[in-house]
């Protein structure tokens, strides 16, 4: 259940991108934070890593978004290990 603090950079001032902001509001896992200039803070709190990735991709594809940077990521207790074991151990 990943939680991440992200910074979206828009091509111009954040308030000029109302359609994108609206799309962000529609995603229940996203909480919108401060904006300043072309940058906007959000937090994504998703149920699993796959959903986290979907949201990440969706945000990156929004019109006007030119960059998505990570400010913080929190790990779960049992997490972040690859689903695949190393090929060497499977041999």
């Amino acid at each position: 259940m990943p939680i991440s603090g992200l910074v979206i950079t828009f091509a111009s001032q954040v308030e000029e991108h109302s359609a994108a902001i609206e799309s962000l509001h529609e995603v229940p896992e996203i909480e919108i934070g401060n904006a300043s200039g072309s940058k906007l803070a959000i937090v994504v709190d998703s149920a699993d890593k796959r959903r986290d990735q979907q949201i990440w991709n969706m945000v990156r594809e929004l019109p006007g978004v030119i960059d998505l940077a990570v400010a913080m990521v929190a790990f779960d207790e049992d997490n972040e290990t690859a689903e695949r074991e190393s090929i060497r151990n499977l041999e």
Binding site: I3, G5, V7, G33, A41, V43, E80, S86
Partner: protein
């Protein structure tokens, strides 16, 4: 996760993101604790600083630790390098500690099977092999070694064993940058720094893809555009990449075309009388290679001779050689001829992994020197590094087969004497003959002893040559079946290298140990151990010291200094020796600090002065030379050789190349004749093959492929192909093919119009995937000076899997 903890983490994430938004401007380097102010502690969580474990950019992160485990990573907004930003790899850097298959016990191959053993047996086994044949032992290290780790390995080999067979994987990624700097300025490492990226008007990327390989640096540039500044990006490359997407101009060159392009720019600057005469007259010499036996020193040539040699590199001739239209060469020359703008050049492996690597590095420096685009903020030729401490550990500590710490070399008797003095060794302890460079070292290891293969034991630390060496079949896989050869590998996960290892040692990584790295802009950065390594995993530096002490106990003379003391002896305040060779006592003292302070003595010899260890504890890194001020504070240097910033420039001088190889304070502008690549496509192998990296994975993928987000985002290596070539060969998107060269083959899925877009006749394969070893195909031909192999161009063919002979 309970609701209270969840809401705490959410507020921490929002605070981190919010502070980056608020701090949209550049931030100064500040002292350690300031930056964590707005990252909430509580619920048992503490934060501490560390540089990122991956590329040479040297971003700083804040590491959140709870119950002995890394639970959060935040960009460090107090860090001057990244100002709170991280790329997708840095964001997941905490996850690399927790792959399911961490190595946790020493494993010895007995009757073909890996068997768990105790550390004592492991250390004894290694010491015994070295004791029995010290001169056939080789140590293969890394630009991922911390500075103390590399320094300990260097002292162990060159001081303790009198054996110079130590070389790092950085030989494969930036050795030509070193020789290019040495040939030009007489001293290694860039004069400029990342501030150049904030101030340049034009950024030229030479065969370089910083959008994926140094993403945080690239976003420093693109961020300027979002703030309304103008910066023109010119991408010179052999394929379109994400960097091209952001570039104003894309100049597509043929492999080796960079040599012709730089000669063409210099030709036009001279021809049009458009070069910076005053800068050249005051601060430069002209230099060419000797005809019979070329050296890094070269021979002096006159400006008239330089003009004569460069005359044939007309834009039209350069177009023929490089494939870049003559008008574009004129455009570049006009830009360099304009002194009112600032130009920064960036390069990395595209330029270094080149059989003319030293030449092309020197030529690009020459373009900047001839045009006077040097030494003002924004005007700089800058080589980036791929590993976090390629500069700090390899170049500064000198963990190369010919080098000693602090820019000294083994071949120079005075340098050996100085080094023996610092190490309190008997005169003559250091061997005067350079050891084997990487390619030679592995050739000698994989060649049967009876046929002259005189390396019989190899210790590999913090790197994965079984995946990253070129021409793997010849340089690595041939080890198989050679009974008397013994491969020791210390790593954190099983790798392509551990497959052939006889002894595997489980290593501690990143914040499981203390460390110091040196990044691409001469910045030295320190961190402390924050969590314990799993199982029996231990620090690499400890391993080296424990082996040294075992040899000392066995009576090996070299492990004693002149006074009979252990060469790594550390004493407490009462003058008693602390048994740091016993792991239980390794952290009784800060071994890193002891080694760093000893190493620091060497750094003043080539004006690479480092500050005391404790200064780095307080800072987010400091760029050397770092010089003490009258008030006792320490000042870093951003722009070397420039009078306005560099404390070692003679007072009153605007520029001073104080390590000039001609001893006259001048830099060298080199002429090198264009030479064709070592292997060209032909009828049998009609395509150019280039290898490289992707954003999501770091080098051989050992760490990043164990982070599920990164692994899922880029699960497998692939072959990039031009759509026209694919159509002509009846190959469709996703289809599996065999790519084959004269040296080996590799099976891959095809990606057409994917991340990168290669031109017709060329293919690209990333090397991160251990299940698809593209280095079976690459070439081990190397630069004559730097000995760095050319991974960027060789002849290959592509066949549909169904059509390929089995």
């Amino acid at each position: 996760m309970d609701a209270k903890r969840r809401s705490f983490l959410k507020s921490a994430a929002m605070a981190a993101a919010g502070s980056m938004v608020a701090g949209n401007t550049s931030l100064p380097v500040v002292h350690a604790d300031q930056a964590v102010d707005d990252l909430p502690t509580g619920e048992g969580m503490t934060w501490n600083k560390a540089p990122c474990r991956f590329c040479g950019t040297g971003c700083h992160v804040q590491v959140g630790v709870e119950d002995g485990r890394v639970v959060a990573i935040a960009g460090d907004k107090a860090a001057d390098v990244n100002k709170g930003l991280l790329c997708v790899k840095g964001y997941h850097v905490g996850g690399i500690l927790y792959g399911k298959d961490r190595l946790t016990n020493p494993l010895l191959r007995k009757d073909g099977k890996l068997t768990e053993i105790e550390w004592d047996e492991a250390i004894e086994t290694i010491a015994k092999r070295i004791f029995d044949s010290p001169q056939t032992f080789a140590f293969y290290g890394s630009g991922q070694w911390t500075i103390p780790e590399g320094y300990a390995a260097q002292k162990f080999m060159k001081g303790g064993l009198g054996n110079n067979h130590i070389d790092p994987n950085a030989r494969l990624c930036m050795a030509s940058a070193v020789t290019g700097f040495l040939a030009t300025y007489g001293v290694d490492e860039p004069a400029g720094c990342y501030q150049d990226l904030d101030e340049c008007d034009v950024l030229i990327t030479w065969g370089n893809n910083p959008a994926e390989m140094h993403p945080v640096l690239f976003s420093r540039v693109t961020d300027r555009r979002s703030r309304g500044e103008t910066v023109r990006i010119i991408d010179i490359g052999t394929r379109k990449t994400r960097t091209t997407d952001a570039a104003n101009d894309y100049l597509e060159m043929k492999p080796h075309g960079d040599v012709a392009i730089s000669l063409g720019i210099m030709h036009l600057l001279i021809e049009n009388n458009n070069y910076d005469k005053s800068f050249v007259e005051k601060h430069c010499n002209f230099r060419g290679a000797e005809e019979l036996t070329p050296t890094l020193q070269g021979e002096q040539i006159s400006e008239a001779e330089f003009r004569k040699r460069i005359a044939k590199y007309t834009p039209e001739r350069v177009e023929e050689l490089s494939g870049v239209p003559a008008d574009q060469i004129r455009m570049l020359a006009d830009l360099f001829g304009n002194h009112d703008i600032r130009i920064t050049s960036l390069w990395c492996m595209g330029m270094n992994q080149h059989t003319m690597g030293t030449a092309i590095n020197s030529l690009v420096h020459g373009v900047h020197l001839l045009s006077g685009h040097f030494g003002r903020p924004g005007d700089a030729p800058t080589s980036l590094t791929g590993q976090p401490s390629a500069c700090g550990t390899v170049r500064e500590v000198g963990t190369l087969a010919h080098a000693l710490p602090g820019g000294r070399v083994v071949a120079n008797p005075e340098h050996r004497e100085q080094c023996e003095g610092f190490w309190n060794l008997s005169p003559g302890s250091i061997n005067a003959t350079p050891g084997y460079h990487t390619v030679k070292m592995f050739e000698q290891f994989t060649k049967p002893t009876s046929q002259g293969g005189d390396i019989t034991t190899m210790f590999v630390q913090v790197t994965n040559p079984g995946q990253t060496l070129p021409n793997l079949n010849a340089l690595f896989n041939d080890k198989q079946g050679l009974e008397d050869k013994f491969l020791i590998v210390s790593d954190v996960y099983p790798t392509a290298t551990t497959v052939l290892a006889d002894l595997i040692l489980p290593a501690a990584m990143w914040v499981e140990k203390n460390g110091v790295y040196g990044n691409s802009e001469r910045r030295t950065q320190q961190w402390f151990k924050m969590v314990d390594p799993p199982g029996e995993a231990r620090d690499d530096c400890w391993m080296t010291i424990a082996i040294a002490h075992k040899l000392f106990e066995m009576g090996y003379e070299g492990m004693k200094d002149k006074d009979g003391e252990f060469i790594f002896a550390v004493k407490n305040e009462a003058g008693e020796e602390i048994p740091i060779w016993e792991f239980d006592h390794y952290y009784d003292t800060n071994v890193d600090k002891h080694l760093f302070e000893e190493y620091r003595q060497f750094t003043t010899m080539k004006h690479k002065n480092l500050a005391p260890y404790d200064e780095y504890v307080k800072a987010r890194g400091l760029r050397w030379p770092v010089v003490e001020q009258d008030d006792g504070s320490w000042r870093e240097t951003k722009f070397r050789f420039s009078g306005f910033d560099d404390p070692f420039v003679t007072a009153g001088q605007e520029f001073d190349f104080y390590h000039s190889s001609t001893n006259d304070g001048r830099a060298q502008i080199w002429f090198h004749e264009y030479a064709p690549p070592p292997e060209m496509p032909d009828e049998e192998f009609p395509m150019w093959l280039c290898t490289g990296r992707v954003l999501e994975h770091w080098h051989s993928g050992t760490m990043t492929r164990r982070v599920s987000q990164l692994s899922r985002a880029m699960p497998t290596a692939y072959l990039e192909m031009n759509p026209e070539d694919a159509k002509a060969a009846n190959i469709r998107q996703g289809e599996r093919v065999i790519v084959e060269s004269r040296r080996g083959k590799c099976e891959l899925p095809v990606w057409i119009d994917g991340r990168g877009r290669p031109p017709r006749g060329t293919i690209f394969v990333p090397f991160f995937d251990e299940t698809k070893l593209i280095n079976n195909c690459t070439l081990d031909a190397h630069d004559p000076f730097s000995k760095q192999p050319d991974y960027k161009k060789c002849a290959a063919r592509v066949k549909k899997l169904a059509e390929a002979p089995s």
